[in-house]
């Protein structure tokens, strides 16, 4: 994405509708019952996305970002997964309370998902045409022939060369970037209102990453969809996202409009993430790394989950779980959309 595009995106929500957001997750909890105990993967996550808006969910492995997404899609394995508490409001209805058959009709047609590894996420024994066409056949009741024609159209749309000739090819016959385009085409097929992209570029070459991200952003803009972009890569986020939610240990630790977070993080964990990005202007210096390891989900530390790794941890951090505080400027003026789950957010932000 070019610089010009970027500046045009900055004034955040592009077409925020009046009233309810497209998707609103409220106090979501997810746990997995394993042989060794209960793994608490998500512990009270709330976020929202509006039409045309891009929310980036950031966090390392095990932070609960993908599990949250799977809960929204309704593709958690249950059991062992369980949602003891929470609401997922999509266009005003709670998906968790929908009958299974109603929820199924939402999947794919209103909410779609793009997975990380397109090679394993596409069925190796069906042609890409059949897998794309399946969306139209199942949700729209189209004939095989019409569905294939639609598949070709979709492949054209995601800029796969010679779409007509390649519609009968199998996933393994495509390159990594092309496969990810097919995944995107599949998600876009029925023009859903919301797309969840789970690390859509992580498995790709750096050179291809940008192309795929651009394509995704372009299609999102055209169709005015909400987009949840799950990633651990702060670099990807800067170009496309409107707002960011940083997750750690199954909770949101910081929320902010995208550019503010780079200049003024309000949580020590976010600070750590930013410091660990290699920067050209600091060539030769030792790269910063957050000390320690992500929390064990079977036994999350008491108080703030980040406390064992936090350079600024105090006694209170080991006993009290910090809530997501609304963050204000030093003089008390509000900072809209910003929040931090740190007892010492003031020191972090203003110190």
């Amino acid at each position: 994405m070019t610089i010009i595009d970027k500046t045009s995106n900055v004034p955040a929500p592009r077409s925020a509708p009046e009233g309810t957001p497209l998707l609103e997750v409220r106090d979501l909890h997810v746990e997995f019952h394993t042989r060794d105990g209960v793994a608490k993967a998500v512990n009270g996550v709330s976020y929202s996305v509006s039409a045309g808006e891009t929310l980036a969910v950031l966090g390392e492995s095990g932070s609960g970002k993908s599990v949250t997404a799977q809960a929204i899609m309704g593709i958690l394995d249950m059991p062992p997964g369980k949602i003891p508490h929470g609401e997922i409001l999509f266009q005003g209805t709670d998906l968790l309370k929908l009958p299974a058959e109603e929820f199924r009709k939402v999947r794919g047609s209103k909410i779609a998902m793009i997975f990380q590894d397109a090679l394993s996420s596409l069925n190796p024994v069906h042609t890409v045409g059949a897998q794309l066409g399946e969306m139209f056949r199942v949700h729209r009741g189209m004939s095989k022939k019409d569905a294939t024609a639609k598949a070709v159209e979709l492949m054209d749309r995601v800029k796969i060369p010679a779409a007509k000739a390649r519609v009968g090819d199998y996933p393994h016959q495509f390159s990594g970037g092309m496969r990810q385009r097919i995944m995107i085409a599949m998600a876009m097929a029925l023009e859903p209102d919301l797309i969840i992209a789970d690390e859509p570029t992580t498995a790709l070459d750096v050179t291809v990453q940008a192309q795929v991200m651009d394509l995704l952003a372009e299609l999102q803009r055209e169709m005015n969809m909400g987009l949840i972009l799950i990633t651990h890569d702060l670099g990807v986020v800067a170009d496309v996202a409107d707002k960011i939610a940083v997750m750690y240990g199954g909770r949101i630790v910081e929320t902010a409009p995208v550019h503010e977070i780079y200049s003024r993080p309000a949580h020590p964990y976010t600070r750590g993430l930013l410091d660990s990005i290699p920067r050209l202007d600091q060539k030769g210096q030792e790269l910063y790394a957050i000390k320690g390891l992500p929390p064990n989900l079977l036994n999350i530390p008491s108080g703030c989950a980040f406390n064992p790794r936090c350079p600024k941890a105090q006694d209170i951090c080991r006993t009290d779980v910090p809530v997501l505080h609304s963050v204000t400027e030093q003089d008390g003026t509000e900072m809209p959309g910003r929040g931090s789950a740190c007892h010492f957010w003031k020191e972090q932000l203003h110190g």
Binding site: R104, V106, R107, G108, S109, S120, N123, E134, V138, Y170
Partner: protein, 315 residues
């Protein structure tokens, strides 16, 4: 696709030659396997007659040459003669249809019952039906075929008629009953493999249901049935087909016991008898035929494999 098949075909040739050679070696080069003396029985063989027979059957040729003559004969449809002058091919073609019918009926039972039981168990993992399939297959695998055979013969073949008045299965094979005559023996023959197929299907389907592409299929909003059949089962079938194909040969070879219990005059019985009687030519001929069936079944599996898995087809 064509190249793949030709490669598999070429690979089958050394196996066929090797297996027949091994059988030939075991039959004719084992100690105590002088066919002339065996024919003569207790008496000392007349040296003149013996020499004549040796000449006629090329018994004095080097072993490798004997084998070569034999195998080239086989490819021209000549399986040789027994020392008493009967054509081996005639004996085999007489017995072959029984074994083939038995194996095919067993194969169908094995494939249908095994796969269905496996699917039900996999989709209700940990539930009653799953436990039932796991335990019953464990029992079936543990009970030797001849025990299963006798027990079913007594219960279904005898008791059902004598005590319940249902005359459906017969305790011994009766050709006049046609297809029905094969049901009980075929079920016995299929029992062990059936249990393996059920377990393999269960594991294979459970594994594919965890695959990323099945998750994708669910995320696409496909109905559960379509997810299971088109995405789970379709991929899970690949190892099952391999097992089934390899087992067709095994069923024919394993028919020895079933044929004996139910008194069916098939290839198994013929071979068992010929081993006792040291009728080398029949043994080699019969086993060669079974090896051929095994190899053809494997070729069909390879073909199916390529149909089922495009990654192989285009490799």
């Amino acid at each position: 696709m064509g190249r793949y098949l030709i490669r598999r075909l070429i690979q089958a040739i050394p196996v066929l030659l090797g297996a027949t050679f091994l059988i030939y070696l075991l039959t004719f080069a084992m100690p105590g396997a002088d066919p002339i003396q065996l024919l003569a029985g207790e008496k000392k063989a007349d040296p003149l007659v013996a020499a004549m027979l040796r000449e006629k059957y090329h018994l004095d040729d080097p072993f490798l040459l004997q084998y070569w003559n034999y195998i080239t004969g086989v490819f021209q449809g000549d399986f040789g003669e027994t020392l008493s002058g009967r054509k081996v091919l005639d004996m085999i073609t007489e017995a072959f249809p029984y074994t083939m019918n038995l194996a095919i009926v067993a194969f169908v039972i094995e494939a249908i019952v095994g796969v269905v039981a496996g699917i039900m168990a996999a989709l209700r993992r940990g539930k009653f039906i799953d436990q039932l399939v796991l335990i019953s297959t464990l029992l079936v695998i543990s009970i030797p075929v001849f025990v299963t055979g006798f027990v079913l013969q007594l219960t279904l073949g005898v008791k059902l008629k004598n005590e319940w008045g249902i005359d459906f299965f017969s305790p011994s094979f009766n050709e006049a009953d046609g297809f029905r005559a094969y049901l009980l023996p075929a079920f016995v023959l299929a029992s062990t493999s059936l249990a393996y197929v059920a377990r393999l299907t269960r594991t294979s389907l459970m594994e594919t249901m965890r695959a990323d592409y099945v998750r994708t299929a669910t995320a696409k909003g496909l109905p559960r049935r379509r997810v299971v059949v088109n995405h789970g089962l379709r991929n899970a079938m690949i190892p099952i087909v391999t097992f089934l194909g390899a087992d067709l040969g095994g069923l024919m070879g394993g028919a020895v016991i079933t044929e004996r219990i139910f008194n069916i005059h098939g290839v198994g019985g013929l071979l068992a008898k010929s081993v006792y009687l040291k009728e080398g030519a029949v043994v080699v001929g019969g086993v060669t035929l079974l090896v051929l069936v095994y190899l053809i079944a494997n070729l069909i599996v390879d073909l199916l494999y390529a149909v089922l898995d495009p990654r192989i087809r285009y490799a």
